[in-house]
Amino acid sequence: MKELEKNKEVIGRFGRELPFKVPSEYFEELPMKIQSICLSKEKEKVHIPFLQLIKSQLALAMGFIILAALAFAGYYYIKPPSQNSVLTNDDYIEIVEKHISDFDEGHLLNAVKDSKDTHSPSNDLTDEMIRYLLKENVDYVTLMEQY
């Protein structure tokens, strides 16, 4: 309360009058001025085409697309050709022929043996047929001669 009294004392001493003034009829003209500014802004807002509004976003999206296309093209251009081609049997034969000195005979024989040992569905069928003929005691040669 003491502070409040003191503040009132200060106000009493200096007053609440302001030393400012405005041009004559300022407050009579101000609403019209404000209204016209607001309406002109409103018109500006209405007339902005949609494309103009999303121009920056569109440019950004285009930038990304170009960048992605460049990256994609660059990757396939730089990538070594061995990665995207499949070697055929002829290619292997050609390689072996060209670099025959790099291969030793034993190594090649082992490789041929390994390739024969590889598991395939036709091998399984033959094994099964042999097992059947042995089990049933059928002579395959006689059978073939008869038919």
């Binding site: 302001l18 407050f27 609403p31």
Partner: protein, 182 residues
């Protein structure tokens, strides 16, 4: 029409047919209070004129979304205060002026502007207010000249009532001290 309440004006504004008219009434109702509030911060009439126009332009664009969580006049005051402080901040940044130089410029305006018309004590009081920190100046103006309630000032500035009371008390002490010097 001068007796319309804020609630009635807002209802009128929400109706598209009467929107412009309602806005005009809002401007007429609050223009003087807001102008003087801005003028006390900016001092210069021409700058205050720009700021009041920007304030009402913001009001025009934002009023549709005003949800009446606060009173209309505190919302208007908040926009006006922000616009005025932003104006001073831009002025500082534009001319790379240190904090005190804008206040020095405002003091010069008090002495030379054709739109200043007061006695020596009134001008000296304005100079004393210009020595205060920006926010303290706003608090002092709202309490001393406009006699707003602390609760309303708190809503406008987003500061607690206790902090506002302390701020006003410090401001009064500084101004008294300034006024005592010749």
């Amino acid at each position: 029409m001068g007796h319309m309440s804020d609630k009635e004006l807002l209802e009128m504004f929400r109706n598209h047919e009467t929107q412009s008219y309602a806005f005009n009434l809002i401007v007429r109702k609050y223009q003087e209070r807001l102008y003087w509030h801005i003028r006390k911060i900016i001092i210069c009439h021409d700058d205050s004129d720009d700021v009041i126009q920007n304030t009402f332009l913001k009001v025009w664009t934002g009023l549709e979304n005003f949800r009446e969580d606060s009173q209309l006049f505190t919302w208007l005051y908040r926009i006006a205060t922000n616009e005025a402080l932003t104006f001073l901040k831009k002025k500082r940044n534009k001319f790379f002026l240190p904090l005190m130089d804008v206040e020095q410029q405002l003091m010069q305006t008090l002495e030379t502007s054709p739109h200043i018309d007061g006695n020596e004590i009134q001008v000296k009081l304005q100079k004393a207010i210009l020595t205060l920190p920006e926010k303290q100046r706003v608090v002092f103006n709202m309490k001393y000249f406009e006699e707003l309630k602390y609760e309303d000032i708190s809503e406008i500035l987003g500061t607690s009532v206790g902090a506002l009371k302390a701020s006003f008390h410090h401001a009064v002490k500084k101004i008294e001290k300034y006024m005592e010097t010749d």
